[in-house]
């Protein structure tokens, strides 16, 4: 195999992985702070895709800008969903019962969002005809799809902004404190419930933005989430449950493994490579790439 071809596989994998990474950090943030496994995460991504689509078709908003525009309304939507629904199944009580209730709630939410979208917007697939979706930057023999390159850069920027927010701002530090030790955070005057709402809002806004970026080259339909939700969970677990840098690295790794798997395995087994890598990481580092090993008390 020529070196150029190998580089093409690596670059393609990284570009695909960039958007997986952005999708996954929202999920990781929600899990990290609230300990909620959000099965509806992919459905909020789908709604973000639709919003970007309608902005593009109705108002001529470029989908890359549309992805950013989607952030504030989805942040508010996340706050509302937390306030109305999730607050009832988080924040104290029997952990096992809470976990059951959370799973049922987010799974139910996922089903309702998917089916309501199917009813209202019909199952007809839609797509944004962005010119850059079918154009490429040529770097020697390697072609970089323009839509994926832009989406990758935007994903990097957004992930960087989230990281800076969590590490450089008081609010971000309060969020991390609420994630690491909710009880002690409460003693310090941090409103843990408000932090949960903030985490959910930011998590939903991030996945909606990822959906907007995805919409630049991927068709939109009510069931699009099923193609990505498993990969999101794999990325989050691979990186270390709740770790934001871990989820980002996990997303990139999935894209890379999916692409490089094709060098040795047929297309039908593309995701086999991902799950083999997943099992290997969990075997050698059960806490994930960036996770911390829990100490038994």
């Amino acid at each position: 195999m020529a070196l150029g071809e190998l580089v093409q596989y690596v670059v393609t994998g990284l570009l695909v992985g960039g958007v997986y990474a952005l999708m996954s950090i929202g999920l990781a943030l929600i899990f990290g702070v609230m300990r909620v496994v959000n099965f509806a995460q992919g459905d909020f991504m789908m709604l973000g895709m639709y919003l970007t689509y309608f902005l593009a078709v109705g108002y001529g908003v470029d989908p890359l800008l549309g992805a950013l525009v989607a952030i504030p309304p989805f942040f508010v939507l996340g706050l509302v969903v937390h306030r109305v629904l999730l607050v009832r199944v988080t924040g104290g009580g029997d952990p096992q019962r809470l976990m059951d209730a959370q799973l049922i709630l987010t799974l139910g939410l996922s089903l309702i969002i998917t089916n309501a979208t199917t009813m209202i917007l019909t199952p007809m697939p839609r797509g944004i005809r962005a010119a850059y979706a079918t154009q490429a930057f040529a770097v020697g023999p390697v072609l970089l799809n323009q839509a994926r390159s832009y989406a990758f850069l935007m994903a990097l920027l957004l992930a960087g902004a989230v990281y800076a927010f969590l590490t450089r701002t008081d609010l971000g530090k309060a969020l991390r404190a609420a994630a690491d030790e909710p009880e002690a955070a409460g003693y310090q005057g941090i409103d843990v419930r408000a932090m949960h709402g903030l985490a959910f809002g930011v998590g939903i806004a991030l996945v909606a933005a990822a959906g907007g970026l995805l919409a630049t080259y991927h068709p939109i339909e009510p069931t699009v989430a099923v193609n990505f939700i498993v990969l999101m969970f794999v990325a989050v677990v691979l990186g270390g449950l709740g770790s934001i840098p871990g989820a980002f690295a996990g997303g990139l790794l999935i894209g890379l493994v999916q692409s490089l798997t094709l060098l040795v395995l047929p297309f039908q087994l593309q995701n086999v490579g991902v799950f083999i890598a997943f099992l290997l990481v969990l075997y050698f580092r059960p806490q994930g790439l960036f996770g911390q090993r829990l100490r038994a008390v």
């Binding site: 071809e5 093409q8 596989y9 393609t12 695909v16 998917t114 089916n115 199917t118 019909t122 199952p123 007809m124 697939p125 839609r126 797509g127 005809r129 979706a133 079918t134 154009q135 490429a136 072609l143 799809n145 080259y217 991927h218 068709p219 339909e221 009510p222 069931t223 699009v224 099923v226 193609n227 999916q258 692409s259 094709l262 047929p266 297309f267 039908q268 593309q270 995701n271």
Partner: protein, 414 residues
């Protein structure tokens, strides 16, 4: 006195007879004005999940035929009984499709079934129909749908292997007439049943027999994560023709976008009607689709302009494709079968299907070669595929020539 005494008695007798006749009249006349019996049919098709659009199109075709039949007085042999549609969602997996069929057929008396678009679904659904002895019409292509000795399954489409054979002959002929030679071919598609059965004979014998080398053979399980690697292989091997089977819309869009991105000019021959739906134009634009061809079981033919007009006016769709067209034909076939059977009993209807030989009417004219007759395996006799080609943002029938609405155009050089 005597005479006078008998008169009232006679009057009472006459009155009693008259009353008895009046009371008995409805019973005596009953056979002549039998109560109309409705014919309940079910459409098991994906109405949610990744193939929901196709199910929706099928439903449009069924509803249009039912409106026409019922509007014209229903089924005469059933005293004007109407056709009643019960739809069931096959979802996005074989398990869901089978479960939907099971529920639809056991909840109430269903006389005939239609479905379930994807061959993999139809294989499961027809097992339920066979067990419950309900005749089932399908447009699915896979050969093995009618290779299992089932008595209640009727396949109106030409099977995949036949489509592969005829599509290959057509493409070779078309290339020859454009002074092009086909020496290298690529097989690119997912592993759903219809595509598997289309590729199998090409891979095993047909291409070899014509001296054509397979340079790319890539099959995936939907959804496709990224199409770059496939297109890269096509770019490096430069086949003369790509046989293409991506039934999942997002997968197909990814491949077509990459074709444009990598500047590939190889002619594309799709396998199935999924490639000729209106949303393709909206998503990738007509320029990208121009000259792309697809083998399908049916597509509007010359002389069906009025039918297409009625369909587009009724549904708002820009054009009619295989899915609504064949489902429309299926409902009309069911109507004719009920006229023949004079019954709503599934077994009687199944026997009537085996005796059916339609040469005219809406059903016969919708499907080539204009005749509806099923052989002992349940395959439609003489079923031939249609080649459709995108031209100027609309798919047109280009083969068979005598029923074509446009002439085929060769894609051009590499």
């Amino acid at each position: 006195m005597k005479a006078a005494g008998t008169h009232p008695r006679r009057g009472i007798q006459a009155l009693a007879i008259a009353l008895a006749v009046l009371i008995a009249a409805p019973t005596l006349l009953a056979p002549a004005v039998a109560r109309a019996e409705d014919l309940k049919i079910t459409l098991v098709a994906p109405l949610s999940g990744r193939w929901a659009r196709q199910g929706q199109l099928k439903k449009m075709g069924a509803e249009m035929a039912i409106a026409e039949i019922n509007g014209a007085g229903g089924i005469k042999a059933l005293a004007g009984g109407k056709i009643v549609l019960r739809e069931a969602d096959a979802g996005d997996s074989v398990e869901k499709a089978v479960s939907a069929a099971q529920r639809a057929l056991s909840r109430e008396k269903i006389s005939v079934g239609i479905g379930s678009w994807l061959s993999s679904f139809t294989l499961g659904v027809t097992e339920v129909a066979e067990r419950l002895q309900v005749p089932w019409f399908t447009l699915s292509y896979a050969d093995n749908i009618t290779e299992r000795g089932f008595k209640y399954t009727f396949q109106s489409s030409p099977v995949s292997s036949l489509q592969a054979e005829q599509a290959l002959d057509l493409i070779l002929d078309l290339a020859r007439r454009n002074n092009q030679q086909i020496k290298k071919a690529a097989l690119v598609g997912d592993n759903t049943a219809a595509i598997v059965f289309f590729f199998k004979p090409l891979r095993e014998k047909l291409l070899k027999a014509k001296g054509i080398e397979i340079v790319v053979d890539e099959v995936w399980t939907p959804p496709l994560a990224d199409a770059t690697a496939i297109i890269q292989k096509l770019r490096s091997t430069q086949p003369d023709i790509v046989f293409y089977g991506a039934t999942n819309f997002p997968d197909s869009i990814q491949v077509l976008q990459k074709v444009k991105e990598f500047g590939l000019k190889t002619p594309i021959m799709g396998v199935g009607a999924w490639l000729v739906t209106p949303e393709y134009v909206k998503t990738v634009g007509k320029e990208l689709l121009d000259n792309v061809m697809s083998v399908t079981a049916a597509h509007p033919l010359k002389g069906q302009e009025d039918l297409v007009k009625r369909f587009t006016q009724r549904t708002g769709e820009p054009f009619m494709t295989q899915d609504p067209l064949v489902t429309y034909a299926h409902v009309w076939i069911i109507k004719e079968v009920a006229e023949l059977a004079k019954s709503t009993d599934p077994k009687a209807l199944r026997d009537a299907v085996t005796k059916l030989d339609l040469r005219s009417g809406p059903a016969a004219s919708a499907l080539t070669p204009g005749r509806i007759r099923f052989d002992e395996r349940g395959r439609r006799v003489g079923a031939t595929p249609i080649i459709v080609q995108w031209q100027g943002g609309e798919p047109f029938t280009v083969v068979p020539a005598e029923l074509a609405t446009r002439k085929p155009v060769w894609h051009g050089g590499k």
